[in-house]
Subunit: 450 residues, 2 copies
């Protein structure tokens, strides 16, 4: 009797929930995208609906980097790895001598990403993700998560998740979906905080993995991380990982890059159940980032975007579809630019040697740290890391036009100067000074109107 009564009440609750369903996605603006999500969920979950799918088969998979949280200017796990190396270099000479570590410390991300498998990045990951016990690794990730902050948004990384996607996770779970992360990121890295951050328990995190080694130490069992039998849960690896770890085909898949295309296909093509595919398109440089074919680091989106209409995948226009970006509403305010650094600047002096009147060397700094401009002869672009008054510039990519010798000389001084910059200040005349480690001004710039 109690059971019957209780089930009746739960049934009534479910009906109530269902009728106010749309309100569970308040950060999603009304429109085709939101409607597609709600319609799909209603279709597969309402009793008697033609597309009804039993709860046990309601598997939803989410990419993480760029889908549930930000992945720029670098995937956060790479930031963890870099910060770990920096923390250890002072006391570990062998580490400091490694050529890839040197490249990393010099900000030469390009070198780390060289090669099909990003060998340099893999080396850094190996140094920071193997050789310790799983407990020690968890401790390091937690310490980093508590102390590190995002270069642009000045918040702990774990706070930089997308509010609309958090609402979507809750909405799906309220409809008896089981939600999994299926990410190229390391499973061990994500599992440290996935439950805290997304309410996704470790067993629902599918990621890149390598074997651990079981050992008894002082009579206690430990698991030691290795890089043996590395499994990269990306691209075609994603459906492979879904099969190996979940063993059931999803009916809903959420991603943001070509790395998610295979699992979007696996979810939506030839699925005996109704299925749903969604791509988050980063279109909002102001509140977050805007990229597709040229991402800051990871997250290239070309072919998946091309086939989306044909496959019936829903594409989120972040700028248009999301009225909130961040699950932590303070995140945006920290990224304000009270110092007025962002914008266009004109070089007035380079290393104390002046500039040619007729040769304009310019610098534009965007809120995400992207930099670019003209050397006076060629266009260039690159990435700056900004933290408080500290600023450093990564390698610059330039076009290769030749110009008059004097202008080429200025170009050379201008681009070389950036490599020495460690901090900036803007004075009361609105002049921007970029300064080297000894406090010398290596560049002085005046503001250019847009």
């Amino acid at each position: 009797m109690l059971v019957v009564l209780s089930l009746t009440i739960i049934g009534m609750m479910a009906m109530t929930l269902s009728s106010v369903a749309a309100d569970r996605l308040p950060s999603w603006n009304g429109g085709a995208t939101k409607r597609a999500i709600v319609d799909f969920i209603n279709n597969v979950t309402e009793e008697g609906s033609p597309g009804f799918v039993p709860p046990s088969e309601r598997i939803a998979v989410f990419d993480n980097d760029g889908t549930l949280w930000s992945e720029a200017p670098l995937p956060f796990q790479a930031a963890f790895a870099f910060d770990e190396v920096k923390r250890r270099v002072p006391t570990e000479p062998a580490l400091a001598a490694d050529p890839m570590v040197k490249a990393m410390l010099a900000g030469d991300i390009g070198k780390l990403l060289e090669g099909k498998h990003h060998d340099g990045l893999m080396k850094i990951l190996a140094l920071t993700h193997a050789g310790m016990t799983t407990e020690e690794f968890d401790r390091r990730v937690n310490q980093w998560a508590e102390s590190a902050s995002h270069p642009r948004f000045k918040r702990p990384y774990l706070e930089l998740t997308y509010q609309p996607m958090q609402e979507l996770l809750d909405y799906l779970r309220a409809h008896q979906f089981e939600c999994f992360i299926v990410s190229g990121g390391g499973a061990d890295f994500m599992r440290v905080w996935s439950e805290r951050v997304y309410e996704i328990p470790p067993q629902n995190v599918v990621g890149s993995t390598a074997r651990v080694r079981y050992e008894m130490r002082d009579g206690k069992p430990v698991l030691v991380k290795t890089l043996d039998q590395l499994f990269v849960d990306d691209k075609e690896g994603k459906p492979v990982g879904i099969h190996q770890f979940i063993g059931r085909r999803p009916i809903a898949c959420f991603g943001n890059s070509d790395g998610d295309q295979a699992m979007l296909e696996y979810t939506t093509i030839g699925n005996p159940h109704p299925s749903f595919g969604l791509i988050v398109h980063h279109t909002d440089a102001e509140r977050e980032y805007a990229y597709d074919e040229k991402p800051p680091a990871s997250g290239k989106l070309t072919t998946a975007l091309d086939v989306a209409p044909r496959r019936g995948w829903t594409v989120v226009d972040m700028k248009k579809d999301w009225n909130e970006i961040w699950s932590n509403p303070d995140a945006a305010s920290n990224a304000d630019d009270p110092r007025g650094l962002f914008g266009k600047w004109l070089a007035e002096d380079i290393a104390g040697k002046g500039v040619l009147d007729r040769a304009q060397s310019t610098l534009e700094i965007e809120p995400d740290g992207a930099v670019g401009g003209s050397t006076s002869v060629n266009r260039y672009r690159g990435q700056a890391t900004i933290d408080g008054n500290a600023i450093s510039f990564g390698p610059l990519i330039t076009t290769r036009r030749a110009g008059p010798p004097a202008m080429m000389e200025q170009e050379s001084r201008f681009t070389e100067a950036f490599s020495r910059v460690t901090s900036f200040r803007i004075d009361e005349s609105d002049l921007l000074y970029l300064t080297d480690g000894d406090g010398n001004d290596v560049l002085r710039l005046s503001r250019l109107e847009d």
Copy 2:
């Protein structure tokens, strides 16, 4: 308001459930074993208990073969593999020519198990578990499960699960444990039926795995099974698999063999939470099987049993602790022996040539198909497969004592005769006739009193 009322009622239900907890394990006889289980679960789940563990960390792991269902006379997945080979041999000459397939068809299990990694058995598994799509594999497992039956219990294999363990799974789930299988068996094999048989969904099945390959065929995504990067989820592989697939340390672990020792240790040694380890000891030859250090095939139990008292692991005495064995109560009745085959027999005639008066060649047949006796000079043992009136004998293992020439000749005729036997009958005088494929009686035996 509705929510509050509903939660109150659910709370009342929970209290009611808790107070009748012991009755949820009706197949467990009262005593220390049952008490240990109930006490542990109460300790970690009752609010305010000193050992309280939050629901999200209530991970319980179960070995499958020999723990949740039977593993004799062969692990059921091996039976599937053998049946698959037999099904395919008539139409696949290459398969028929394989030396390991020949050994298998000749019943030479010893050859298949040779070597540290049981190369022959692995070969058979490779032939039957790789090269097809996951969908095709699932179909084959389902067809086998519907058609095959256990040689002794004459029931579909999927019905041969242990009722006390099924009750334990339910009991744990009612206390917000999440239950996982962690088995040396293939994850793909178990996931086909795990939800049907145990209410354990595919994503909660950790097993031996190999990579699948993602392919598009006729525009549809498929996953092709391979044996690449084989992971054997056994012994030290079990804590490794738990970490890789679950990512959280269990607080309860249930096994039956030395293959489970590492995960029992990982669960119970140095765990910050209270923890529970349990070993199912097969002690009931009558209703199921009795073995530990000499199992029929898999399931050797020596070191884990030795350390159990020191580790505080609970050991189930199947015969004493379980008042029911099978989740399907009909399973036992099918295994009855209305024909009186089981028992001790004395050879009266061998291949039409009589026997020596002074040389007693005997045969004992046990309900599980185990056979043994005296050749008249030496002891022998082996395994028979019985199905209806069909009976066949696997290879016999004998001691190597020499005897008088006439007795050695009889031994030779006696042991050779078994290899030709394909069926049996017992006549009205209670004589047992073992017959070859042409219907010739190759052995006649009379019943020996115990």
